[in-house]
């Protein structure tokens, strides 16, 4: 039962998904318009044909009636029954009825119902009931004379007209479908291409471009693609420029810094320096080390954020990595009076092993620095139901207030606001950059008590599936 419900739900969901496609909606609207147009045209045609047919019938019937009256006027009423019989026998398309006042049939097969003027008459025919349009008059002797025509022929004609109209409507709808299949589907595919390309770029593959086939006369969709490509080129140019500036700055700063460092080392090793001066040199060296560390961290952050994903496609065994890191950090964590619990189930992620290692190291070190002794750090690596890897680093320390959880991911943001605390101030920013770089969703939550950082990696399978990279 639940299975059936689930299947129905899936169909409904899929239905909604299809309905969200603009192309499908356009096709449906187009077909509806075609059908309504044919319906209206059909009804108007039928009404016009019916009106013109009836007018013609009436003229013919009146003509026949006039001819019979003329007979009566010329040869007397006595011979009219004979005339009707003869005309019926010769069959000119008319039916007649002549009855006396008592209703006794004198000639013909119509039975006028005792009223004068135009009317529609139904009476049993040889196999099916017949319908007639008749005109009834009274002769000078008071007998009922009816002249009429069978309506069946007209009705048959009308049915045929209707049939043709329905066929034409069906053809129109089919034609609409065909046009949709040819045109809208290709449009749909091209829009999907653009959406795919945009999604890949959003995932960090900045080199991807929309495939724009060169056309003599580009249409609006081509223009969307071209505009998107132009935008991506511009963004790519800006990123390239930024990277070039970063490299230049790095080079321009590092060479003088190298000299400063070398001069300080020269001083340090010089024999003729008093001890007090030597301490000044040592402090200058320590300051320089700190400066360089921050400098390195910033450059690395820029590099992780700037480089596009996709150049490395290695599978990273997160369980093994977690075990290795546990082995590495356990002594230091325990020396600080904290505990480290590791739970490593099999989990794979696609990406750069060194960067993922750094992300975890930064998280573990963050837990070591910002919690009091006695805190338990937990590192958990596991595969979720869909096969995607999930990494959790949690502690039961003081945690981070909810309103600051995003802020701590920005460079140089410090919770305690004291610049004196160790660390470059970009540790968590690098964590965020590495996560973004691997398409992993990073969330900071309340561990009640403490902080829980979760990185949800995309399924490794999907990341490795051959993707249409264009450009």
């Amino acid at each position: 039962m639940t299975g059936l419900a689930a299947a129905l739900g899936a169909v409904r969901r899929r239905g909604r998904w299809v309905w969200r496609r603009t192309g499908v909606r356009l096709a449906a609207i187009q077909i509806l318009v075609v059908l309504i147009a044919f319906g209206v045209a059909g009804m108007m045609t039928r009404a016009a044909i019916r009106a013109s047919n009836e007018a013609m019938l009436r003229r013919e019937i009146l003509g026949e009636m006039a001819s019979l009256q003329d007979e009566m006027a010329r040869f007397g009423e006595g011979r009219i029954a004979g005339t009707i019989a003869r005309r019926t026998r010769l069959w000119r398309g008319f039916d007649y009825g002549l009855e006396d006042r008592g209703g006794a049939v004198l000639a013909g097969r119509l039975h006028p119902p005792g009223r004068l003027g135009w009317m529609e008459l139904r009476q049993p025919g040889p196999d099916a009931p017949d319908a007639f349009l008749i005109y009834v008059q009274q002769t000078p002797r008071g007998r009922w004379l009816a002249v009429g025509k069978n309506l069946a022929a007209g009705r048959r004609q009308m049915r045929m007209v209707t049939l043709r109209l329905v066929a034409a409507a069906a053809c129109g709808a089919l034609l609409s479908l065909a046009v949709w299949a040819l045109f809208v589907r290709s449009t749909w595919r091209r829009l999907a291409n653009i959406a795919d390309a945009a999604r890949l770029v959003a995932d960090g593959r900045l080199a991807v471009r929309v495939a724009a086939a060169p056309r003599r006369r580009p249409d609006d969709i081509d223009e969307v693609g071209v505009a998107l490509n132009a935008m991506l080129d511009r963004i790519g140019g800006l990123i390239g420029e930024l990277r070039r500036v970063t490299t230049d700055v790095a080079h321009d700063l590092r060479t003088p810094l190298t000299r400063v460092r070398q001069r300080l080392e020269e001083l340090e090793h010089a024999a003729d320096i008093p001890t007090a001066r030597r301490q000044v040199v040592a402090r200058a060296q320590a300051d320089l080390e700190n400066l360089l560390r921050t400098f390195d961290a910033l450059l690395q952050l820029a590099e992780i954020e700037g480089r596009s994903l996709g150049d490395e496609g290695a599978v990273v065994d997160l369980a093994q990595l977690a075990q290795r890191l546990a082995e590495t950090f356990l002594p230091d964590v325990e020396a600080g009076g904290r505990r480290l619990e590791v739970e490593a189930g099999p989990a794979l992620a696609a990406g750069d092993a060194a960067l993922i290692a750094q992300m975890l190291v930064n998280l573990i070190e963050n837990g070591m620095r910002h919690t009091p002794p006695g805190t338990t750090l937990r590192l958990r690596v596991a595969a979720r139901a869909d096969g995607a890897a999930q990494v959790v680093v949690a502690d039961d320390g003081p945690g981070i207030p909810p309103e600051l959880r995003q802020a701590v991911l920005t460079p140089f943001f410090r919770l305690d606001q004291s610049r004196g605390s160790p660390g470059s101030g970009v540790g968590l920013a690098i964590v965020a950059a590495v996560a973004a770089r691997h398409g992993a969703r990073l969330s900071l939550d309340d561990n009640a008590p403490g902080l829980r950082v979760t990185a949800d990696f995309p399924p490794a399978r999907r990341a490795f599936a051959p993707r249409p990279v264009r450009g």
Binding site: A250, E265, T328
Partner: protein, 249 residues
């Protein structure tokens, strides 16, 4: 500028017991090049300095060197392509790339096995340690030693066994790899950064004392209490495993 010609400076009396290496420094900044040269010479190496890629190609293919020290950002050229060009000429000398780029991609991109990199600005101790390691590795390139030894401390790399005076020592995997990194460079300092790279694969500096912690645990297992230590800490330079001074020489 001293870099204009190939100047082979003859070795001053070597401060270390190790024999000097023949080094080619390719560096366009004259002052940095001069300081590197004098520091390397002071460590007993023979140093040739050139200022650009073209001279490096000429010098590198004309004379045998033990190690090339190549700046990545040379005027109009990438130091990496200079080394590649030399390799195509059959020069297999290992290279130490000096890079100001500092980016992970650039650090790892040009490295073949046997090459190494150094990020500007570097400490001279780091430079010396890496040059020594490269020079030694170049000599050992053909045979990967299966047995490493320092005095009565023996590491059997096939059995993954460590014995001190015949007694087997139980080491954790990280401790084993630390000791291995030291033994592979026995007699020469191995810096903290080199250990982070070789043992942990970390190309960044963790803020915690993982190297020190694991080193002290490993030393506690390896050293004999009361006896002079085999593994010594060299301030600022890292760690070195060598026979105790009294027995050396």
């Amino acid at each position: 500028m001293p870099a204009a010609s190939i100047a082979i400076t003859s070795a001053a009396p070597p401060p270390a017991a190790a024999t000097g290496l023949r080094l080619l420094v390719v560096e366009d900044d004259a002052e940095v090049a001069r300081r590197m040269e004098s520091s390397l010479v002071a460590h007993g190496h023979q140093v040739a300095v050139v200022g650009d890629g073209l001279q490096a190609l000429t010098a590198g293919s004309a004379e045998p060197f033990d190690v090339l020290i190549v700046d990545r950002l040379l005027p109009g050229m990438d130091g990496l392509s200079v080394v590649r060009a030399l390799r195509t000429r059959g020069v297999a000398t290992p290279a130490l790339f000096v890079t100001a780029l500092g980016a992970v991609a650039d650090r790892v991109a040009g490295l073949e096995s046997g090459d190494d990199y150094l990020v500007k600005p570097f400490a001279f101790d780091e430079l010396h340690a890496r040059v020594r390691a490269l020079g030694r590795r170049a000599g050992d390139m053909r045979r990967e030693p299966t047995r490493l030894q320092c005095e009565d401390l023996v590491m059997d790399r096939l059995a993954r066994e460590v014995r001190r005076a015949g007694r087997e020592i139980e080491l954790l995997p990280l401790e084993y790899r630390l000791l291995e990194a030291l033994l592979l460079n026995a007699g020469q300092p191995v810096t903290r950064t080199m250990l982070l790279e070789q043992v942990w694969g970390f190309h960044f500096d963790p803020r915690t004392n993982i190297v020190e912690t694991h080193m002290s645990r490993m030393r506690a297992k390896v050293e004999t209490p009361g006896a002079p230590p085999l593994i010594r800490t060299k301030r600022g330079a890292g760690y070195v495993i060598a026979p105790p001074p009294s027995e050396a020489g």
